[in-house]
Amino acid sequence: MAGQIFAYIKHNEGVAEDSALELVAAAKKFAAGAAVTAIVTGSNVDALCNDMAASYQEVWKIDNDALSYPNAEVLRKVLLNILPNDAVILIPHDTFGMDLAPGLSIKIDSPFVSDIVDYEVEGDTLKAIRQEYSGQAHTHVECDISNGLVANIRPGVFQPDESKGVSGQVIDKSADTGDLTTGRHFLEIVEAEAGDVDITKSDVLVSIGRGIEDEENIEIAQELADAMGAVVSCSRPIVDAKWLEKSRQVGTSGQTVKPKVYLAMGISGSFQHLGGIKGNPFIVAVNKNPKAPIFQVAEVGVQADILEFMPELTEKIKGL
């Protein structure tokens, strides 16, 4: 039987990220009803701890001004000091989890499985599914978790468990952190330049091509993207026409994107364009031309004029 299960709660100044509740769902894979402990670190995190207590049986609060920014080097020391040796700890596989987890697994001498998209637990064995080669091939990996586990779970693959039916207990572990000095000191966050949208970072792209016909119509795509929480990208002709900046262009001569969902709106699908789409996203193609090559690579196709179709879709999504 595996040891105590922990979930590291990512938050932005007290506001939990989606992964916080995704890990509730993920942890259920170990055993229905297994007790899971949330670890909340930071300064002034009481409200968040109480929130989490609605979803986790136990919440370990580590409140320390030195942890107000999640510096993975410091938090690794914290976790090492407070976690039992056979802990199973679930961490979101984001830029923080990638920074924290591999080293943590060495320090607590547990196996590490990175970027898990799904898994099962059979006794002391974790059987996880990972993706390789930009998602072109998947693998099953196995490890013995009787002496603990560090598991990085890909954000977004588990549906957040919103049931919140638990009345967990908040335990203050702030005193157990031990020495927090490290050789890496956080200085500051340099924000990305304003207005400079990074399409490579977006999970959902509403990508427009020549079907948009006119610069003024880009607004229609932007409205759809806003409704979906997506970002507008485009194919080369849109950039050539100077309707959108170069940084928005998907393709071999533009950006390489790895979204989860890609809406190809009025894009015919030249291979120069498709060359910029990686990671097997769910592609929806809307095009007037039923023979557009984009339909060969799309999962779902709609033969329609995007200028008529997009507003309908936007309207419906807004009404949800």
Partner: protein, 687 residues
């Protein structure tokens, strides 16, 4: 002949015999000139070798055609005619000017042979020549100084305006004309006043005009003006001579040599280093041009020779769309750098890398190697080899844009710029009708003709249609052909021109071996880049033809017959692909093929044949992301529209990619269409 005035050889002023000056001016002038030229020759001596001391009959022919007859000048009519007037005026007057130098020493000197009737005829002609030159200079100065044609403008990043130098030189030339004629006219007027015999005054010439002015001037004044105008001429003459090597007028001296040594072949690229065989390239320490002295001596001579006329840049498609390239300034910046590094006095300066100094990376990558600049240059200056050599240098230093590194890597590993799998290279043939079988020449099957497909036609969904049309044509024409299939790799045409020499060598070796092993006796291709590569970059292959040549022959022999044009309401225009037209002079065959389709109405665009406007470039240029204000293709499509065409026919897959894209960018879908010649012909074959 008895003379009314004392000539400069015998004149003295304030007791000083003027002959001293007559001797001193030429001696000092010639010495200074010789010194300047010696300094100017230094970089040529240090430059890389070039093999231009060959093929003399062809070279002399070029001198006669391009230098002497000024064949390329009238391509720009006003400037061309003005130049021709000044050029021939100069040639004519060079005899007179030389005579005058001697007359200053030996009074009454006459050039051998010009003593008799010939001399009178010469005098008659040269007076008109001088007058014409002066008029031409005035018009030219008016154009440069007042009208300021667009192509002479100097964009801010390239430094100051060049108008002052141009007008100054026009002034010098005018001064030569005015002083020479004043010298002549004063004597004539004096002769006339004294009732002595004089040279016949050619009416309405400068001399004639001066003589009218001087007819009532006193002999004393005429004497003074006579001697004064002589020395003005003498000084101006030697000043001008020594001033020429200081700027764009160096071409007056260097042009004859530059044209004599100009490139004679089209479509080729110079070897990495003359005298080093391909298999010895590994031994070279450095590749390409990194610093000035890495250029060949001819290329440095090119820099000296540039007359700053701006025709190259006026024709350059990269310049037209606002890419950071202007061939004119490749030369001007190169020349100014040499002048700076090789000053007339003092030590020569150490050589610095050119990229980052006078040239920028993007500038050098912006060239599509279309050849419009070289086609236009009235002085035989070459650009493609310089650009390729600079790129070789950049590749050797690792300075390759990220957008080009991927396709180059894929070419190395997979033999095509997209990194598609080799085994899928012939997949496109699967969509051919069942009754057409395509032999893959992999040793088991043989054929007379090889259809070399090349990468874009093999892998691009749209361009595969060109491949299938080509096969249907070859089939209809009864030609025994096959393809190499997976054994074919990219021809490497742009790999060579983008400076990755060793990768090109690998591709060339691979394809050469595959082609020779296939045992074919002819090669055909529908891709002008492949055509040019196999014809001009590869060696010892069977003869190569473009599909348009095969089509024309098949039409002429009756092997294929074309039916009436499908849509006779449309107007067609033919876009010359650079590597078919300019680089290989195949202008007529595709046009004849079009005209062989009954009922097809064809118009020409304003820029056609050897002035064809590049579509945007092929091969690796598809991957390069230039800074540009608009696309070349869009300008081209607009030209087709202006010509009244609604279908653009081309004969190159890269042109088709660029033009089809441009039609969409220009929002002319439905109004303009693009099609490949092979596709159009295939549709019209009577089956």
């Amino acid at each position: 002949m008895e003379t009314a005035l004392i000539g400069p050889a015998n004149a003295s002023v304030l007791g000083i015999p003027m002959v001293i000056f007559s001797l001193l001016i030429p001696i000092v002038g010639a010495a200074v000139f010789a010194y300047i030229i010696a300094r100017r020759l230094a970089p040529l001596v240090k430059a890389a070798p070039d093999n231009r001391f060959n093929r003399w009959p062809e070279r002399i022919f070029q001198v006669l055609k391009i230098w002497f007859v000024q064949y390329r000048q009238p391509r720009y009519m006003v400037a061309g005619v003005l130049h021709i007037v000044i050029f021939f005026g100069f040639l004519t007057l060079s005899i007179q000017s030389s005579s005058l130098v001697v007359i200053g020493i030996f009074d009454g000197f006459v050039f051998p042979g010009l003593g008799g009737v010939l001399g009178h005829i010469y005098n008659f002609i040269k007076d008109y020549a001088a007058t014409a030159v002066l008029i031409a200079c005035i018009i030219a100065a008016y154009r440069r100084g007042i009208l300021k044609p667009e192509r002479y403008a100097v964009p801010e990043k390239y430094g100051h305006d060049h108008t002052a130098e141009a007008v100054f030189v026009l002034g010098l030339i005018s001064l030569l004309m005015v002083s020479e004629s004043a010298f002549e006219a004063t004597l004539m007027a004096a002769q006339h006043q004294k009732g002595l015999a004089g040279e016949f005054v050619a009416p309405l010439t400068l001399v004639w005009l001066w003589k009218l002015v001087f007819n009532h001037t006193s002999i004393e004044k005429l004497q003074a003006i006579h001697v004064m105008s002589f020395y003005i001429h003498d000084l101006t003459f030697f000043f001008f001579l020594c001033f020429l090597p200081m700027g764009k007028h160096f071409h007056v001296i260097t042009s004859i040599f530059n044209v004599l040594f100009m490139r004679l072949d089209r479509g080729n690229v110079k070897p990495v280093r003359y005298g080093v065989e391909d298999d010895k390239l590994d031994d070279l320490e450095s590749f390409g041009v990194k610093k000035m002295e890495d250029f060949t001596w001819k290329h440095i001579l090119d820099f000296y020779t540039c007359a700053d006329c701006g025709r190259c840049s006026d024709q350059c498609p990269a310049n037209a769309v606002g890419r950071p390239l202007s061939p004119r300034f490749i030369s001007i910046k190169g020349r100014d750098k040499i002048f700076k590094n090789y000053p007339l006095r003092g030590d020569f300066l150490p050589s610095q890398p050119l990229i980052g100094d006078i040239y920028e990376e993007d500038e050098i990558w912006s060239c599509t190697t279309c050849g419009a600049c070289e086609q236009e240059c009235p002085l035989g200056i070459e650009y493609i080899d310089k650009i390729v050599d600079l790129r070789r240098g950049m590749v050797d230093e690792g300075m390759v844009p990220q957008s080009l590194q991927k396709p180059l890597g894929a070419l190395e590993k997979r033999g095509n710029p997209w990194g598609k799998m080799e085994k899928k290279r012939a997949e496109w043939t699967k969509e051919l009708p069942e009754d057409i079988s395509v032999k893959v020449l992999n040793g088991k099957e043989s054929a007379e003709t090889l259809y070399f497909v090349d990468s874009i036609t093999s892998y691009d969904d749209r361009m595969q249609d060109i491949g299938r049309a080509t096969i249907k044509i070859l089939n209809a024409a009864g030609i025994d052909f096959g393809i190499l299939g997976p054994a074919e790799k990219d021809s490497g045409h742009e790999v060579l021109r983008f400076g990755e020499e060793m990768l090109f060598q690998d591709l060339k070796e691979h394809n050469t071996e595959a082609i020779l092993e296939s045992g074919v006796s002819k090669i055909v291709t529908a891709d002008p880049h492949a055509y040019n590569a196999l014809k001009n970059d590869y060696k010892d292959l069977p003869p190569v033809e473009h599909i348009s040549q095969i089509i024309l022959k098949s039409i002429n022999s009756g092997a294929i017959t074309l039916k009436k044009v499908e849509d006779d309401t449309k107007t067609y225009t033919y876009h010359d692909p650079c590597y078919l037209g300019r680089h290989n002079s195949l202008y007529n065959d595709p046009r004849k093929v079009l005209d062989a389709i009954p009922g097809l109405r064809r118009v020409e665009m304003i820029k056609c044949r050897d002035r064809s406007f590049c579509c945007g470039g092929g091969g690796l240029m598809l991957f390069y992301e230039p800074e540009e204000e608009q696309r070349m293709g869009v300008l081209r499509v607009e030209m087709a529209k202006e010509a009244g065409a609604d279908i653009m026919v081309t004969a190159c897959p890269f042109c088709l990619v660029n033009i089809e894209d441009a039609i969409k960018v220009a929002g002319m879908e439905g109004k303009m269409e693009a099609i490949d010649l092979a596709e159009l012909v295939e549709r019209h074959i009577v089956k």
